[in-house]
Amino acid sequence: MEIKKTAVAGTLESSDCMVTVEPAAKGLELDLESAVIRQYGRQIRKVAMETLKRLGVKKARVSIVDKGALDCTIKARVECAVMRAAEHEGRVNWGGMIR
């Protein structure tokens, strides 16, 4: 999926996360900010990278500000931000890429 514009999803509220996806010239860059980065940093990155891979995102700058989100929340916020950034809203392939 091609990232065409900058988009954001999620909030900064407790148990949520805010994900920003921006176009990039090459590769995937992931920046993470979290109060629990020492405990869960690796897991959050893993969930985010898996989600990006499943969506076929090859080039993007992704930033996650985590406020203690569960894996399912992180996945959903990444998916939503990517869909918006790829101008793909309204034609989401439920059960396909999003599952």
């Binding site: 900058t6 988009a7 954001v8 999620g10 909030t11 900064l12 509220e13 407790s14 805010m18 920003t20 921006e22 920046d31 900010e33 109060a35 930033s63 500000v65 406020k67």
Partner: protein, 321 residues
């Protein structure tokens, strides 16, 4: 509990509650908000915030609602609105004691003074901006100007400045909200100085004289020039920009008309020398001011501006009228 997004003006009742909340938090309404977010609980205002251009401001939470995530909710709503409007770069100015809270919300410090901190939502934004600007040898000077529009007065200032240093950086204010767009102003400055070899024109990328660094400049409440706070802007220039670009002289035009700009010049005169930067104020050239040019344009007499602006600016004025 819910958050409403409003375009000013607010209703009388909303405004009253909004002003009360700001006052209780030691803030005042600066009146330049594009949108205002109000969070209410049982019909009572418990938190608010506003967006003015690229700047998040007027963030306040009532004391009895603190610690319940109201600030996070209001900030989230404002960020969502900004992105939806295509504004991706956001700045925020706060007291130093709030720094860690906003850091945990994805903001990064740009400059810290003893009373205030400027943050932005992009990591290393200022470093990236400075890295994008070429470095020159010898004595480097700087002019920061809005040039709304670029007049013979600006030309005079830049000519003088370029003659008094080896390389001159001219930073065009990149904030919107002037009569001419940032792109038009940049074009006017570039064309109007194209023949000055050691003059190099750049966008200020919101790091110099922007609604984030120096809000008073854009609010133009001339009656309250005594309250003008420009230290953040000046310290950002002195501590981050000037050292990176080896700038040792800042030139500015003398300001007989605008109290806000005059107060800014006065403050530069006080602060710059401590950082080893010389401040030079150049007397105004032939009573020309961009304000007079704008007045003529607004009065529908753009043809009368010909004597005050260079050819290249006159073309831009004619193009728009």
């Amino acid at each position: 509990m819910g958050i409403g997004i409003y375009s000013p003006p607010l209703s009388a009742r909303q405004k009253e509650e909004y002003l009360q909340l700001l006052e209780a938090c030691g803030l005042r309404d600066e009146g330049d908000a594009d949108i205002i977010a109000l969070m209410t609980e049982d019909g009572r205002l418990i938190a608010c915030g506003a967006l003015a251009g690229h700047t998040v401001k007027q963030l306040a939470v009532s004391s009895d609602a603190e610690g319940q995530g109201a600030m996070a909710a209001v900030l989230s709503a404002l960020i969502a609105e900004a992105y939806a409007a295509g504004i991706h770069r956001l700045f925020l100015c706060t007291k130093p004691e709030n720094l860690s809270m906003f850091r945990s919300m994805g903001f990064h410090s740009v400059i810290e003074t003893k009373d205030a901190v400027l943050l932005e939502n992009r990591k290393g934004g200022l470093d990236g901006f400075l890295a994008s600007i070429p470095k020159y040898d010898g004595v480097c000077g700087a002019v920061v100007c809005n040039c709304d529009p670029f007049t013979l007065g600006h030309r005079h200032l830049i000519e003088y400045a370029a003659a008094h240093c080896d390389s001159l950086y001219v930073f065009a204010v990149s904030e919107k909200g002037s009569m001419f767009s940032p792109e038009e102003r940049l074009e006017m400055i570039r064309k109007g100085t194209a023949d000055i070899e050691n003059c190099h024109v750049f966008e200020s990328d919101l790091y110099l004289i922007s609604r984030a660094t120096f809000p008073a400049y854009f609010i133009r409440d001339e009656s309250r020039a005594d309250l003008v706070k420009s230290d953040l802007d000046i310290e950002l220039f002195c501590r981050r920009i000037a050292p990176a670009l080896n700038i040792s002289i800042r030139f500015a035009g003398e300001e007989p008309f605008s109290p806000v700009t005059r107060a800014y010049n006065e403050r530069m005169k006080e602060l710059l020398p401590a950082y080893g930067i010389r401040f030079e104020e150049i007397p105004r050239f032939a009573e020309i001011s961009a304000g007079k040019v704008r007045t003529l344009i607004e009065a529908g007499e753009p043809e009368k501006t010909g004597e005050m602006v260079p050819e290249s600016t006159y073309e831009v004025i004619q193009r728009r009228s």
